[in-house]
Symmetry: C2
Subunit: 510 residues, 2 copies
């Protein structure tokens, strides 16, 4: 039970003075101890699997990249123009080389994350050109917003991965953005992070910066950065994305390969068909990574949306996307590859009730299905167009609820509480009994963004809605943030690298 | 895809004129076709089961009612004062008489609901003394509000059970409320409904009104009404509740027997212990009903909340309540008794983001766990203190999402869409392909309360939040409501009964 709502912090100020520092990190375990939910019967999963193999073997998939086509040709695939037809044995033999689980190192070793099997990562919003700032304004994102989002990632206990493109810093020329973003992630957080994929040389810069931060030897032996590439769905892996894949993979770094599934537009409208396509796109990329460097960590991306048949607008929180999340995780388990899941996504323009409903509708299937790397878990709004700082905090609370759910329940002599029944008896109450006194401290998590006291107290304290409370908490967290200590020599070397590369690179807008 | 947001209705008016009538009922099936989620291993369920039997047999439970004590004594339980110690064989043998599934008849036969096994009911908010009305005001509820909530129940396609105390009509004296409420449910809806339990004679009035509506013979042979009684937890069934149980049970009508579990206050703080108590309270009441009339439909109530250890305030959407929902459904399945689940509950004071988050956090476990009768699915706010008309509509949309989830996914030749891959190919798009044209009409459900189009459209249309959109839709639904046809003789007889009983009963406030 943290104490961060405006009121509670007032109370707390009286008790403990104004400077509270960061919220006490609840003992959060990013481990799944509850059973997986298998939505579809094994036969259905098998049919999708076999249809995928047929599709890749007979019809094929396109790789718009000469070096990739060469790699496939050498490996024994049938290459015709940019079309690659992949024999099923080749595909499955390569996919089997991807690790089931891997560790991404953080510069603070205590913050390294394990991804795969029963270990998960919760990571922020990714890729938004706009922000909803703490004044409530919606505007183009700036580097200052990116830095604030990085600070929130650092200060949010249920966020164990700082993410990558927390928003697009539109005030920085495109060719230089990756430098400022990566630099901010390295300075303002000591959690694991992601790098750029918008060009091969930008990806390379990110890897080079990691060599400064971690040391080149360490980077050679460990996963210290991760990229996220989207398929140009349907069934095209384009040159830019493949150049990024090569830069990360050849350095032994991790990559999320993510089909861009908008059911009815970039993928079949029927769920089983959309799943075949997602599976084909993800497996082809996982296999390609293994051809480049066997054993490289790959994450199978599942981030589906449906599309309005009236307007073409994407939607989140629909049942069909849930089915894809369930099926995709069942398939990825069959192949032994960790998954990317979709986080708390919504089409809502504001952090209002729609945002709350849809975000949780989006997250539950991912948690039940056994998703591993949860992108967009914090702060996503407007189908990804905006990063909302207040929603980052709200989503942080809900992520804690999910982590507590994933921790499962213990049934043993102590928790069965037979002594409490003896002590309290029919008609009594448990507030002061011995069992309660032993357990109350960490019995329940009260989300700081939720108001749970009476209506009268709520009115007295200004009748704030969740958005107002979360905005205030975000302000507190940003004020309390301090950059985690970084060796001065490393800091200087990073700053020099960034300055040099920024001088070399153009100020173009592409 | 309905078209009910303010904007869309504007568009629609142009196309189809002002009078739209009720929203087209989507083909909704209240059937579960997806697997159950078994959170706890069988051994854990067994330990809770055995601990429950121990508790009821050794320590016992209280029935504060002379006729109930007499019934238990005759059945072979050990009765000492008001304490009843129930031998495990007696308990289990009685519980086994409760049906696994039953039908509650509606006056419109097409609206009868089946409850239990793979069939579910979604039912509105129950018991709130306050409302949030469509002007946004929060005030004591009145009979007019009750009637509006009944109209919304009738007009909401994902609501297949009209519920009972939709709010407390505070402008009607307590001894007469049940007459006006039951009368409103009978007039304004033709869906199944619930009756009063606040006194034995009030419960009897409700049953008598059903005899007028359905015919006495029909009532004798069918379940036409249901009550909801709460245990005076811990481990006390009080006189008032038991009198209602007797009135319904002796008439062969259904009853939800619901432990009132606030973890840490009225139940042990540890989840396994709270589960033992819920199980003991529910099973004792189910068994008692079977002693009164074997085979009477009973519903095992699971509606847990946790409690703030700072203020004693109840909370919804916590992981611990989720575990109780999962465990409780596993136990009830073991006994073959349908369950009551908790619906879309929240502590939020407004239908804001907190309300959205917590409502879905509350509903998912109930759906995954296999809950059957989902109370409080529509309109609940403020830990149940307020019924919110706008949230009724929002929750209605989310209930549709849950029903679509429960319908599951089909994997077959048609949905695998291999023809679409042929037709579209890499780099194409699916919007106009044959597979899409065959499926787009009912491919996705777009919640009318969700805004999914662009930010610019949203601004142009007034930048409404979900609450504003839902308020407008609620107004439209209320305006479109017409009382379902009722035979004039029956209507007169009901009105006479209500008038006579109201004349006989006092205007007291208890």
């Amino acid at each position: 039970m943290t104490a961060e709502t405006p009121t509670r912090s007032k109370r707390r100020r009286r008790r403990r003075g104004r400077e509270d520092g960061p919220p006490p990190a609840p003992a959060i375990n990013f481990k799944r101890s509850i059973p997986l939910y298998e939505m579809a019967p094994a036969e259905a999963v098998e049919r999708i699997h076999l249809s995928t193999l047929d599709l890749l073997e007979r019809s094929g998939i396109e790789f718009h990249s000469a070096p990739a086509l060469e790699t496939w040709r050498k490996a024994g695939a049938e290459v015709e123009g940019e079309r690659v037809r992949i024999p099923r044995e080749l595909l499955l033999e390569q996919v089997a080389l991807a690790p089931e689980q891997f560790v991404q190192r953080a510069r603070n070793p205590a913050n390294s994350v394990t991804i795969g099997l029963d270990q998960v990562a919760f990571s922020p919003n990714y890729g938004s050109p706009f922000v909803r700032d703490l004044s409530g304004e919606r505007r183009y994102a700036r580097l200052g917003d990116f830095e604030d989002l990085a600070r929130l990632a650092q200060m949010t206990p249920s966020c164990n991965h700082a993410g990558g493109v927390l928003c697009e810093p539109m005030d920085v020329p495109i060719p230089k953005r990756h430098l400022d973003m990566t630099h901010a992630l390295m300075r303002l957080t000591d959690k694991p992070f992601m790098g750029s994929v918008t060009a091969g040389e930008r990806a390379q810069d990110c890897v080079d910066m990691c060599r400064i931060l971690f040391g080149a030897d360490f980077v050679e032996r460990n996963t210290v950065i991760m990229g996220l590439v989207n398929c140009n769905s349907p069934l095209v892996w384009d040159d830019t994305m493949l150049a990024a894949v090569r830069a990360y993979t050849e350095a032994g770094q991790a990559m999320i390969v993510s089909p861009f599934c908008m059911q009815g537009a970039s993928a079949p409208i029927t769920t089983a068909g959309a799943m075949v396509q997602i599976n084909a796109e993800a497996l082809a990329a996982v296999a390609y990574m293994q051809l480049l460097r066997p054993g490289t960590p790959a994450i199978y991306g599942i981030a589906p949306s449906t599309v309005s048949m009236l307007s073409g607008a994407p939607m989140y929180g629909a049942a069909e996307a849930m089915f894809l999340t369930f099926l995709g995780n069942q398939l990825a388990r069959r192949y032994g590859v960790p998954t990317r899941a979709q986080g708390m996504r919504t089409t809502a323009k504001l952090a209002d009730a729609q945002a709350g409903y849809e975000s949780v509708q989006s997250m539950w299937p991912a948690v039940m299905a056994g998703g591993h790397f949860h992108t967009h878990t914090f702060g996503w709004l407007e189908s990804g167009l905006s990063a909302c700082l207040a929603k980052f905090v709200m989503d942080g609370d809900q992520a804690t609820v999910f982590l507590r759910l994933m921790a499962g329940v213990t049934v043993d002599d102590e928790t069965l509480a037979m002594d409490a029944f003896e002590e309290v008896g029919p008609g009594g109450q448990y507030l002061g009994c011995a069992n309660t006194l032993r357990h109350y401290r960490d019995a329940f998590f009260i989300p700081p963004t939720s108001f749970i006291d009476t209506y009268e107290q709520w009115q007295e304290e200004g009748a704030a809605d969740t958005l107002q409370r979360a905005t205030e908490i975000a302000r507190q967290r940003l004020a309390a943030h301090e950059p985690p200590p970084l060796d001065a020599g490393t800091a200087d070397a990073l700053a020099e690298f960034v300055a040099r590369r920024k001088a070399e690179l153009p100020d173009s807008n592409f």
